[in-house]
Symmetry: C2
Subunit: 193 residues, 2 copies
DNA sequence: TCTTGAATTGAACGAGCGTTCAGATAAGGT
DNA sequence: ACCTTATCTGAACGCTCGTTCAATTCAAGA
């Protein structure tokens, strides 16, 4: 009854995060117990506290790491507003289809964050939205796009693109590239001058 | 310590549902206890079981009543695909802005339903989506719309429109009608031939 | 006014919760 | 081979959970 064979912080730590991610996404933060996470990892509940100060921080760090990844994943590539908007749309869809659990959690469990943690997550999300907003604004400025309200268009487009995670299944009627193409077509037309 | 003054099933019943709705939306189904709901209503926890067989059914009935309302709220008004699409978009936005808590719950708490209850809710949601799908399909048939995939366009448009609940605040920069107009403009262009 | 039944209390049930910690064991540098 | 230290166990803490039920009181029809 003590340290286990093969135990190593470098392997257990990520396993804790993976298990928490999967379980939070499937059942919701509040519905998942530390003992369930521990069972998934193969340790006792007490051992989790070597890797996180508490349950709330576990959630918070999953969210912020995800949003930081998302921000790093896309920088405006240049080439003008239309090319940048296409690049954004395709990257957004790819990133979201690759990490459905993280996306789900980052949208759904905001209310389980403390006010400070919530503010930090909202700041990161705002930074991402500002990227798209800047592309739209520059496209409006040189007459490539026509939208009555850039902020609203930003929110509308992100909602539409993110929604792909709610229905897309690999091996279905449409491939990922098909989906990218079709969404990009709708985005392009929705903001076209 | 027993029956309270002014007690009446006709008043307590709705109060239970209202309190559950508000609390579920704010904190999540799993994070809300029957005792919290009871406190909000002004009764003891045991009394709730006169109005619902259990906590899960309370959630399920909130969802199904909402979706049935949504289905009743909009019938194709005729006048051709373009007019019908506009009517759908405007109704969808209005309905969702009027019931943010119900909308939130119906999207977020699906994973807390039993498989049977989940299937029933999905059936209702599918019926609603089929309404929009039919409008798009008829518009494509007579050349008014051009979308590469009607099903995907349906999901994309509903996601975009529903997303309005995540950011709209009354008294902000844009009125509800402004928002309706702008979203309708984007929808129209996104599916335009 | 009396009686009947609907509405509610308050206590209790067993179970599970997040978190802490002393003690035990394996890993890894010397 | 030894020793230190990182890793983990298992028990325990006080608390809350959903749900049940006998007892009690109010409302309302006769």
């Amino acid at each position: 009854m003590a340290r286990k064979q093969g135990s190593h912080a470098g392997t257990t730590g990520p396993k804790v995060r993976d298990a928490a991610l999967r379980l939070f996404a499937r059942h919701g933060f509040a519905a998942v117990s530390m003992r369930q996470i521990a069972a998934e990892v193969g340790v006792q509940a007490g051992a989790l506290y070597l890797y996180t100060p508490d349950k709330q921080t576990l959630l918070f760090e999953l969210m912020t790491d995800h949003l930081r990844d998302l921000l790093e994943d896309w920088q405006p590539p240049g080439g003008g507003p239309v090319a940048e908007l296409e690049d954004f749309a395709r990257h957004h869809i790819r990133y979201h289809l690759d990490r459905p659990d993280l996306v789900f959690i980052a949208y759904m469990e905001l209310r389980n964050l403390t006010p400070e943690n919530f503010a930090a997550v909202e700041r990161l999300r705002g930074a991402y939205e500002a990227r798209l907003e800047a592309v739209l604004r520059s496209g409006v400025a040189d007459g490539k796009f026509d939208v009555p309200d850039v902020k609203l268009a930003t929110m509308g487009l992100i909602a539409m693109l993110t929604g792909v995670t709610t229905w897309f299944k690999d091996g279905g009627r449409l491939s990922r590239v098909d989906v990218e193409d079709i969404y990009w077509g709708m985005v392009r037309k929705a903001v076209s001058a």
